[in-house]
């Protein structure tokens, strides 16, 4: 006699067995795919970081491959008291950068900020991860905004965010301030706080680490 499982479809054991089996199969496939792509995803994340480090130090590159080569040859990294500090290897002009991370409006803002050897001027800023409101806080990724940081003089060890016009932003490189983003007060305020702390962390750690 052939056993027809479907006749037991409303039986509790069938219900439980079916749910367990289906869940098992789907989750198995997912974990398999996840395992297969894990390396690639990790590599992509590394690459985001590497591109951000180079961008913050104003080191130009043509493509991802070149970015990787430059990074491996010219940039050193050291972890001091739980923070990653990046620096250019000699004989280049010494530049330092730090991976910062803090709460934005919606989620974490993570990025890199770079300074020159004397801690006198910023070299630039780049973001690794942010989920601010597109078109408002999300504009921190726009070139006019990031461009304001290049060569900006540090006053009291940080940069201030002021109310201002959008594009082209604050072009005065000696006033120690940049224009915040109109309509994105929370993002601007958070970023200002995050950067203030990051720059302090960087300076302390460069001294401590003897870099």
């Amino acid at each position: 006699m052939k056993l027809n499982l479907l006749e037991y479809k409303d039986h509790k054991a069938y219900l439980v067995g079916f749910a367990v089996l289906v869940t098992f199969i789907f989750v198995l496939v997912l974990s398999f795919v996840n395992e297969l792509t894990k390396e690639q995803v990790k590599k992509n994340q590394e690459l985001f970081l590497i591109r951000a480090v180079l961008e913050s130090m104003q080191i130009p590159y043509q493509n991802d491959q070149e970015a990787l080569t430059i990074y491996r040859g010219r940039i050193g990294v050291k972890e001091v008291r739980g923070k990653r500090i990046f620096f250019t290897n000699p004989p280049e002009d010494k530049k330092y950068a730090i991976l910062f991370s803090g709460n934005g409006l919606w989620s974490i803002i993570q990025g890199i900020i770079g300074v020159d050897s004397q801690f006198e001027r910023l070299t630039g800023i780049a973001f690794v991860e942010q989920n601010e409101t597109p078109g408002l806080g999300g504009r921190i990724e726009e070139p006019w905004f990031k461009g304001q940081f290049q060569g900006e003089k540090l006053v009291n060890g940080t940069v201030a965010f002021r109310t201002g016009q959008a594009d082209p932003g604050d072009r005065d490189k000696d006033n120690g301030s940049v224009d915040a983003i109109t309509g994105a007060t929370s993002t601007s305020k958070s970023l200002e706080t995050i950067l203030k702390k990051a720059l302090k962390d960087l300076e302390e750690r460069v001294k401590e680490g003897g870099l």
């Binding site: 749910a19 289906v22 789907f26 995803v41 985001f48 597109p134 078109g135 109109t182």
Partner: protein, 204 residues
């Protein structure tokens, strides 16, 4: 393909794009329609993502339908559609990381998109796999179509660009409201108004 099947295929397509469009007629999937439509590129990827996940989850559920006990029907549906959405998320993160980064949490949120569940309940559980696939795909395209129209106006007026390329003169002052979610309500509402007025006219 028999004549009957062919007319059926066209009918499903027309239904899902116009008469029964998920966003404009059934008013479902609105949440993401508000969230991602201020930029055409993101909208496009999102729409394709929804179309593919709806198509494949409907297909799979239709294949499984004889074995699914009624009591756990919806749990199984959610399981299958989460499976495809997570798969999509993993693949995007591995192969087009820049887009994955831009879409952020919205890809994962496709799971909660009512269109997927709606098609699974309304169509896939009573129709053969091929038809279910087609129904899911066309529903997703119907969603994509409406979102692209909304995104067209929002990106044009909010940024002065289309697909990231500036198209309006420099003197144009972007409408900040268009970038924010509330504007999608206005644009979408106007679209639904026109869509339904035209449909009503046609019916007469």
């Amino acid at each position: 393909m028999s004549l009957n099947a062919a007319t059926n295929t066209t009918r499903i397509l027309k239904d899902n794009l116009f008469r029964n469009n998920p966003v404009a007629s059934q008013i479902i999937g609105i949440c993401s329609a508000l969230a991602v439509t201020n930029n055409l590129i993101n909208t496009f990827i999102m729409g394709v993502g929804v179309a593919l996940s709806t198509a494949f989850s409907s297909f799979t559920l239709s294949l499984m339908k004889a074995w699914i006990p009624q009591k756990v029907r919806m749990i199984i549906q959610v399981l299958v559609l989460s499976f495809y959405v997570i798969l999509l998320d993993i693949l995007l993160r591995a192969f087009i990381p820049d887009i994955a980064k831009a879409l952020g949490p919205y890809i994962g949120l496709i799971i909660t998109n009512c269109i997927l569940m709606g098609r699974a309940e309304a169509f896939a559980q009573a129709n053969p796999p091929g038809a279910a696939f087609w129904d899911g795909l066309t529903s997703g395209i119907g969603y994509l179509m409406v979102l692209m129209i909304v995104a067209f106006f929002r990106e044009l007026l909010g940024f002065g660009t289309l697909f990231g390329v500036p198209v309006l003169p420099d003197q144009f002052i972007p409408w900040t409201i268009m970038v924010m979610a509330p504007s999608a309500f206005f644009v979408l509402a106007i679209y639904i108004w026109i869509h339904n007025t035209l449909l009503a006219k046609k019916r007469k």
